[in-house]
């Protein structure tokens, strides 16, 4: 009886761990970008994208990912317009990052439009996520 319970528990744990090893929300999202035509993702391209400045059409300070998040993703950021404090983006220091598909999609959509004035391509989004995910 007891042994059976332990075996059941272990089976459940194994299934869960295999599931999570197979498909994290981040992997799912990256795969969906590939399905939309993106090729291999590059942290290096993501890094460049992150720092690239875009003029603000209304004459405010130039916008970029790094303007609010900084180039050091292990540090706190600060929104250049609202002053809102932003927690570090790097999962290596902030384990809450890149865990929820809904959140990743929401902020990529909002921030691409705010910074670039357009939505990002699947390739750009994959590169950005890969850069954030591997930042040390």
């Amino acid at each position: 009886m007891y042994r059976k319970k332990v075996i059941n528990l272990l089976t459940v744990l194994m299934v869960l761990s295999v599931q999570s090893a197979m498909a994290s929300p981040l992997d799912d999202l990256l795969n969906s970008y590939k399905a939309q035509g993106a090729t291999q993702f590059s942290a290096q391209r993501g890094k460049q994208f992150w720092a690239t400045k875009h003029a603000d059409k209304q004459g405010g300070p130039a916008r970029s990912c790094s303007a609010c998040h900084s180039n050091n993703l292990t540090r706190m950021g600060k929104h250049i317009r609202t002053g809102k404090a932003i927690k570090p983006m790097a999962p290596s220091v902030n384990s809450a990052r890149l865990k929820k598909a809904r959140k990743m999609k929401k902020w990529l959509h909002r921030n691409c439009k705010w910074v670039l004035g357009r939505t990002c391509t699947a390739q750009e989004k994959g590169d950005i996520l890969t850069f954030i995910n591997t930042f040390k």
């Binding site: 929104h79 609202t82 809102k84 999609k105 929401k106 959509h109 909002r110 921030n111 439009k113 705010w114």
Partner: protein, 160 residues
Amino acid sequence: MKNSNLIQAILFTLVAGLVSANANADSGADLYKSECSACHIAYPPAFLTSASWDAVLAHLDDHFGDNAELAAQELASIKQYVEKNSFDHSRIKRRYGNRFDTPGTPLRVTKTRFFRAIHDEVPDRLVTGNPAVKTFARCEVCHRGAQYGSFDEDEVRIPR
């Protein structure tokens, strides 16, 4: 403190209205709270009319200069919640009729007649001229229970 009885009565009914609005919490309420408190306090829906909420929610891609767009489904759910609990359905509206109706469709709580009426005794130097406060938009700086939907006058502490 002229009109202070009226103000207290107004505040009381306002807070009571907020509490009753919380009672019929649904996913719209939860979504509203989690999404709309990410950057500022979630202003109680009763602070704006349904028409004002519609106008705010129709332009989330330029939300006072920031992009606050939501997925269509979440937007619909939040819209339903704020409209159901807007100023139009508040106790203030029921009790005072059109007395606090604001002409036009203000997007900011601070532009509403009700807000102005209950803050007319607060001089600018304590808020916009006060580095510790800066703006009337951050209710929680002075209304210490604002995050919990409480705007009782007794809880007001203006930082110096």
